[in-house]
Symmetry: C2
Subunit: 456 residues, 2 copies
């Protein structure tokens, strides 16, 4: 069986919901449907979830939320009318919203999560209603009833392992299940939402629970691109991607999928299929544990800006036992997690996300590193971009680094840093942010353009 998740844009209006119906109807392995809140219908539209947040915030601040409620209800009503659904569904949704709004505001986070979650919850009811109207045995499934129990972390809820046993029973349902994404219930009975891409999380949890054969993730792109399409025109689409490859790509800015959302599916080794609601015949991209290597050593190139590097040098550093511990303990005190730590003999460089360091903190940190590590030199380099060149097995592919380094040299890009050999599936280059685009273009040209010839 398949667990199928549809994103907000795939459920934004009646036209799309009809497509969703056709997609689900066309394959009776599609038994569990995870639904997002209605997304944007056009560029300047507002997502229902954003309307609900405004609504909740106004209510908390004792300002009139009604204009937002009306907009939300209007969105559902327009869809219901276009789908010619019985008026009862809109009454249900309206009442549900009023009950939530009348809720206890003493815990604003709890209150807000409850209101936000209504977007998916009510849309699932509407979608279920439409499926039923089409004569399909479909059923709206409430997460509490299904047993989706999560940790009490608003906006960052984590599924509790004990949920899985009960959720597994969904497998037995003879009816098609329409399941709202984005939230679960705490043991206190309250609603707690997941982090961003919350519907992906729900789908992934359900896929794991029912041991789905595949987790289909319907969005609005045909496939994952091999490189950022704003850097390269019409880049190659990726047909197959391993979990590790996806992780390295999304780390450096590939945002098609929020990789943490997939952890349950990954743990269960369930293939994740990314498909386009507006073009369901497109093959899409399949993310799985292992893949056939068809297309050379590199499957994708990603890049991200906003990094800086902290350089610490000390004569005879590498003879000093305990230096690493001291260094990382200090970083930890500043709440800094590091990305990479290339090191020389007498120096180490720590690459971190720039936004982890406030300007006023920066000086303090550098001073502490210098004094407490008795360092000869400590300095920081700002505005670096990290470029990940990703592909299974490239580590053992002689000449790949030569090709990459050549491409960058030819593009007149200085390599500030290389980190290669730890990851089995990636090479990392640090370059100045100003060089990011031409570096990515040069690497794409080298590894994807037809003319590219291996060197060495």
């Amino acid at each position: 069986m398949k667990v199928v998740k549809f994103g907000g844009s795939s459920l934004a209006d009646a036209k799309h919901i009809k497509r969703v119906f056709d997609i689900v109807h066309s394959d009776n392995e599609r038994r569990i449907i995870v639904v997002s809140a209605p997304g944007k219908r056009h560029e300047n539209d507002t997502k229902v979830t954003d309307l609900l947040i405004s609504c909740g915030l106004h209510a908390i601040n004792n300002e009139d939320p009604s204009p937002y409620i009306e907009q939300v209800v209007a969105r559902y009503k327009e869809i219901a009318d276009d789908l010619i659904l019985p008026p009862t569904i809109i009454e249900t949704i309206q009442n549900d919203l009023l009950v939530r709004l009348a809720g206890d505001k003493n815990n604003p986070e709890q209150y807000l999560d409850c209101i936000k979650a209504s977007g998916e919850d009510n849309h699932a009811k509407l979608v279920a209603c439409y499926f039923q109207e089409q004569g399909v045995k479909a059923k709206y499934m409430n997460p509490r009833e299904a047993g989706l129990i999560v940790s009490n972390e608003h906006g960052n809820a984590q599924v509790l392992p004990k949920s899985y046993e009960k959720l597994r029973r969904l497998r037995e349902s003879c009816e098609l299940i329409i399941f709202p994404g984005f939230f679960g219930y705490g043991q206190n009975g309250g609603i707690f939402t997941f982090s961003r891409s919350g519907s992906d999380v729900t789908g992934s949890i359900l896929a794991y629970a029912v041991k789905a054969d595949v987790y289909e993730n319907f969005t609005d792109v045909d496939a994952v691109f091999s490189v950022n399409p704003t850097f390269v025109e019409q880049p190659k689409e990726i047909k197959e991607l391993t979990y590790r490859e996806m992780r390295e790509l999304s780390y450096a800015g590939f945002t098609v999928l929020h990789e943490e959302a997939l952890i349950p599916a990954i743990q269960a080794g369930i293939p994740v299929q990314i498909k386009n609601t507006n073009n369901p015949r497109a093959r899409g991209t399949t993310i799985l544990r292992t893949r056939e290597n068809q297309n050379g050593p590199v499957v994708g190139i990603a890049s991200a800006t906003g990094f800086c590097s902290i350089y610490v040098s000390k004569y005879l550093l590498n003879r000093e036992i305990g230096f690493g511990r001291k260094l990382y303990a200090i970083l930890e005190e500043f709440g800094i997690s590091y990305e990479h730590t290339p090191s020389g003999i007498d120096d180490v460089t720590v690459i971190i996300k720039e936004n982890q360091l406030q300007e006023d903190e920066e000086e303090v940190l550098l001073k502490r590193l210098e004094s407490e590590l008795v360092a000869d030199e400590v300095h920081i380099q700002h505005s670096l971009a990290l470029i990940m060149v990703v592909g299974e097995g490239m580590r053992h592919n002689i000449g790949t680094m030569a090709r990459a380094a050549n491409a960058l040299a030819k593009a007149d890009v200085n390599i500030e840093m290389i980190n290669q050999g730890s990851s089995e599936v990636s090479m990392m280059f640090a370059v100045k942010e100003v060089d990011e685009k031409k570096a990515v273009q040069a690497l794409y040209e080298e590894f994807f353009a037809e003319v590219a010839l291996p060197i060495g």
Copy 2:
């Protein structure tokens, strides 16, 4: 003024000592001469220091040391006779040895250090005697008298800062000073030897103390080679080398100089000149703070075997604050200092010297890393060689990495790891030990052979 150190082979017999005399005599800036114990005269000869060690060990174990004493005395006597020195010098040396041998054996280390140090001490007396016989105002200087006070660490003594003030007075001496290398006196009055290349240490300390213009280090090679001469025939000689470059080269196996010995000279920014006693006209190699970059991006290539890499992977590792500290704390418990730590997104690799890890420890360490870091995977790769490609400013030389990576690819060498960008002056490659030689040859060919053309 110049402080001049002569190694054991430069003082192994009368013929060499005459050369040493001519060298010193030819430049009256050479005011302080640091003397090693007589070294090997030919391939199968035994160093006096080794004879003294056997001698001391026998005495400690109440076995007859006399055969070794006789050999030691014979060595000095042969030299003295060939130099036609008055017999008194040999009596002095003989009595000195007997006094040391009669010393207190309750502290074997102290006892052994006292005997070992006699090699340099007595040779300094002999050399001073010869200089005097040639009508030079020369004087044997005892380190205690000179004020060379060191920490109480046998075989690893460290100079105490307060020594420098008194040592500085050597500058005022109107006589040429012949100073024994390799040892100093503890505050308890006992003799403590330095680590290996101890005479280099003495020369470096004196150069620092008297603010010498240059520290000349006479040995038996014309210069530092740009690459291991067992890998490449007639490699280029290095004329100038910065301290940083030397440090990176000697780290990976360049043993012409024991870099730690130079710390005092380096701290004072005193140029260190390596020259050949047997060919003093050769320009030699000068090690200094900064140099003109004449010869391309690379000045030298060094390599060393005996490394292994410990690989630790954990999904979402890079989001985990404190992971580094935990990892390095465990390594520290095992007394392991690490060389490099290239890292991926979800993995980190720690490169260490293989000899730091006993076989039985290895399994324990890996198990602990796996359990305490809750790692997904931990494994170790043995028999790695590190190759350092060294040169000031290469970091900012676009295309250098491309040339290196190409050379390795052409030589069919897989790059197990690269660490580049932290050190300003080196690129490090890890390759399998079996590939070490051809990798070094390929890199030398690329950066030193006349035909080498820049790429990119």
